[in-house]
């Protein structure tokens, strides 16, 4: 076992997959300069052909990645920040997600589109989004939102081997956090949620960095005699509906924690799922803990209040159990 940070896990996953498969290559903005440390040693080992800077042209670089993927390459594209996916929206939706379907399965688009989510750092509305739920509304995409370094490495390796497009949303709040990483190779399958803590009284569904908030809330609630079960979906597409429903039916109480805006969030989706399919096992209302539907302001005096916190999770649990 070795202790590795979230950023090192990203680097390690890419390194191992590039070593394993010649068709894997990195492209994106400022990848050659290794801006965040996720490409350490890759250019030196695999050459400039496989670690290539693009112009600042998100739609273009996405389309180029799609075309390369259609003819047998496996591009891993780095957009740096998640809002930089927006200029590429048409290419992600119209081309990456739909190509396999439109052409009746003649080919697929094995691309990985990586984007970090930095929020709570006074970067204002255009730099602070957590937009994974926007992409959940579109068939044909896989979406990973890893919650720690171990998950990050295993999910990214699976993403690179997947034969369809995968969006990787990487929470900057986790960048320096460490996990024990096995020496032997491992991958984590898509669509299999991980039960991060078993419990009896309430299910807390939490995504990405929200898993840590849920774990902290569960510690405090345990002192009051409330036993929380924490579900980390690991991938929001595909979504492990069975694990979510089994847990909700068992505990009878359900809270979903999601740093996205509340409207049409992943939390909204799982709450609808539980309300529709586990209603008769529920003993209280479902509850979402999200970011309210306003833009992200610059001044910390306005921004700090907006995101989910441990206290908000605790309040939500209490309210559904009241």
């Amino acid at each position: 076992m070795a202790s590795r940070t979230f950023l090192e896990a990203i680097r390690d996953a890419q390194y191992e997959e590039m070593k394993r498969d010649d068709s894997v290559f990195i492209m994106g903005e400022d990848v050659e300069s290794n801006m965040f440390g996720t490409f350490s040693g890759l250019k030196e080992e695999f050459g400039a052909d496989r670690v290539r800077n693009t112009p600042i042209a998100e739609a273009g670089m996405t389309g180029v990645a799609v075309g390369a993927a259609m003819v047998g390459m496996r591009p891993v594209v780095d957009y740096t920040m998640a809002p930089f996916l927006y200029p590429a929206f048409d290419q992600i939706i119209s081309m990456a997600s739909k190509t396999r379907y439109l052409y009746g399965g003649q080919g697929g688009v094995p691309v990985v589109l990586r984007a970090n989510m930095i929020y709570g750092n006074a970067n204002a509305a255009q730099h602070s989004d957590r937009p994974y739920s926007m992409f959940m509304n579109m068939p044909g995409l896989n979406i990973i939102v890893p919650s720690n370094a171990y998950e990050m490495k295993g999910l990214l390796k699976t993403a690179i081997r997947n034969n369809d497009p995968v969006l990787s949303f990487e929470d900057v709040a986790l960048w320096s956090s460490k996990s024990e990483i096995p020496d032997e190779e491992y991958t984590i399958p898509f669509g299999i949620a991980d039960i991060k803590r078993e419990g009896e009284d309430v299910t807390i569904f939490a995504i990405g960095a929200m898993v840590n908030l849920a774990l902290a809330a569960a510690e405090q609630l345990a002192k009051e005699g409330i036993s929380c079960e924490i579900i980390d979906p690991r991938t929001v597409a595909p979504l492990d509906r069975a694990t979510i429903l089994t847990s909700a039916r068992k505990t009878g109480h359900f809270v979903a924690v999601d740093s996205s805006f509340e409207m049409c969030s992943a939390a909204s989706e799982v709450c609808a799922l539980v309300a529709e399919q586990a209603f008769w096992d529920l003993r209280g209302p479902v509850k979402r803990v999200c970011t309210p539907n306003t833009h992200i302001p610059y001044s910390p005096s306005m921004e700090k209040q907006l995101y989910p916190t441990v206290e908000k999770v605790i309040d939500a649990v209490r309210s559904v159990m009241a």
Partner: protein, 331 residues
């Protein structure tokens, strides 16, 4: 050089242009009677640039098209049966009835797909060229797009990236003068779309799209440059579409005169011009062309018969091909 083309090549050019013309005449007709659902964009009048470009490619070269792309796979050599069946929404269509008229693809002839968001195929074609280059294949990629697409951001981003990386790709602008109803002269302040190549440091060439041999020669040169590692070329074929933006639109958009259309049909038809030229100065006998006409007619009729006798997809096929290797948990 033109005169040196083998007879078989000339006859094949003629055959493919006729195939496209007859296929689309029929498509328009059966669209009118409801056998082709949805919209149907035809390219009658543009066969010269389509076939000239496609015949400069090898069968394993890649090609990306747009919403007006029945002719592109036909020009590249695709069989008509699967294309007609796709237009008619049948299970035996090239895309199994999922794509339709605007989204034909036949990977077996390098046709990677037609894409109906204007300009969206331009970077994708560059990407296919990148893939070929990285894999050490000597394949090239060609993207067909219209004059309207040249105003999209993807035109700039895709061509610029291809130029930076010297990708083996040919960007072929089919300038038929109108983006639906909007004249290109009102949306671009350069005389030629090809003039924009200067901005990317690549060659830009204007060619008469009604002259299949001229297009063939220009694209062949661009293909040669691409295979030799010299990067992309922007080719602009000046052409014209006879019919409305979409078949059987049911409205007169009144953006061009009937006289203008009639003049192009009478004086600038790519098939008639080629017929005249090869029977006149290149020693092809008119009877040879009439025989091809008959063969193509039989081929198109057979494709229609094939499509008509094919089943529609089962309703549950709406749920296949969304993912290639997804786990059952998300069912």
């Amino acid at each position: 050089m033109k005169q040196n083309l083998p007879r078989e090549t000339l006859l094949e050019m003629y055959r493919r242009m006729r195939r496209i013309r007859l296929f689309e005449d029929l498509a328009e007709e059966i669209h009118r009677n409801g056998e082709v659902p949805g919209t149907c964009h035809t390219s009658q009048g543009q066969e010269g640039e389509i076939v000239g470009a496609c015949m400069a490619l090898r069968i394993d070269d890649y090609m990306v098209g747009n919403h007006r792309s029945h002719g592109h796979p036909i020009g590249k050599g695709a069989k008509l049966d699967g294309l007609m069946a796709e237009l008619m929404a049948r299970k035996t269509g090239v895309c199994g009835g999922k794509g339709g008229s605007m989204h034909l693809a036949d990977f077996s002839v390098g046709s990677l797909g037609e894409t109906s968001i204007v300009g969206s195929g331009i970077p994708v074609a560059a990407g296919a060229a990148l893939g070929a280059k990285m894999k050490g294949l000597d394949r090239v990629s060609l993207c067909f797009f219209g004059d309207g697409a040249s105003n999209e951001g993807t035109f700039h981003e895709g061509i610029n990236m291809a130029a930076n990386w010297k990708l083996p790709v040919i960007f072929l602008c089919e300038n038929n003068g109108y983006a639906i109803s909007t004249p290109i002269s009102t949306t671009a302040q350069v005389e030629n779309i090809a003039d924009r190549a200067v901005g990317y440091g690549i060659p830009g060439v204007v060619v008469d799209g009604q002259d299949v041999l001229a297009v063939f020669e220009v694209v062949r040169e661009a293909v040669h440059r691409a295979r030799a590692g010299q990067g992309p070329t922007l080719v602009e074929a000046k052409t014209y579409r006879y019919l409305d933006h979409a078949a059987n639109l049911g409205r007169n958009l009144a953006y061009r005169t009937d006289e203008e259309v009639a003049e192009w049909r009478a004086k600038r038809d790519p098939i008639a011009l080629f017929d005249e030229r090869i029977t006149g100065e290149m020693g092809i006998k008119p009877a040879e062309l009439r025989q091809i006409d008959d063969e193509v007619k039989a081929e198109v009729d057979a494709a229609l018969e094939f499509a008509r006798s094919s089943p529609f997809p089962d309703a549950e096929e709406a749920f296949t091909d969304v993912y290639g290797d997804r786990l059952a948990v998300d069912a």
